[in-house]
Symmetry: C2
Subunit: 129 residues, 2 copies
DNA sequence: CGGTATCCTATGAGATACTG
DNA sequence: CAGTATCTCATAGGATACCG
């Protein structure tokens, strides 16, 4: 295995970091985490709570989160059998950083919208010069 | 215009938020931001600094960041002409949340590795039961 | 140097059908 | 209910060739 390329004084954004963030910050993870931080939920409850997700994607998301120790999959020996998903303590530690990120998005959204409009307008006039 | 669906006491992870984070936290943005937070850089410097990125992906990343007001593309009227990319003030505000996320990844990486091993081992023995 | 244009393939994700 | 298994299509991203 290759060690880190250089002892950079900057942030080291190594492959494992990126891979990890990709698994945790993907399209549906945030919503799922959001639901499970509230309360444990069953598969069908999650589907109802997040209508846009398909069965397949929800399954994939839950498996990924489970594999990374972010959620637990509990088999309830009720009748006829039920599965419950719960956030783990490790999963809970994700909240503060995620919240900060969402707060950033919230705060700067207007500035970003403006930047986009400007950019798109400039691109318009570009080739007519 | 529809207001937020429900006055949820939970985090609202709306489409614009997700879209924004997708644009900013994509595969290469973190590395690029990391470089540009240090100092302005030319296209070829970025390629050297991030060897794994292809020309196409780097171009796409820079355009996206530029459109969102995170970086500036400066045309230097030197000889024979040079392009410089710089982080914007808006771009700099991204650092704290990103740092927190990376710190989280760093802190909890060992626990996550362990969770993965456990999960994969359990999956092994599963069908041999 | 700093890209754009094109082709091609791998992956992600929706729809659908079926199972314990 | 809680999935798995396919099929299919759209997109992301790499390789390559070329341009101002």
């Amino acid at each position: 295995m290759p060690d880190t390329i250089a002892a950079s004084h900057r942030l080291d954004i190594s492959a494992p970091h990126r891979e990890l963030l990709d698994q945790v910050l993907d399209k549906w993870s945030l919503q799922v985490l959001n639901e499970l931080c509230e309360a444990p939920a069953r598969f069908s409850e999650l589907r109802r709570a997040i209508p846009a997700v398909t069965q397949k994607s929800l399954t994939a998301t839950l498996r990924r989160l489970e594999r990374n120790g972010i959620v637990d999959r509990i088999v309830l020996r009720t009748r006829p059998l039920a599965i419950e998903y719960r956030i783990t303590p490790l999963g809970k530690t994700l909240r503060p950083p995620i919240d900060e990120l969402l707060a950033w998005a919230d705060t700067h959204m207007p500035a970003i919208e403006r930047a986009r409009v400007r950019f798109d307008e400039e691109a318009e006039g570009e080739d007519v010069t």
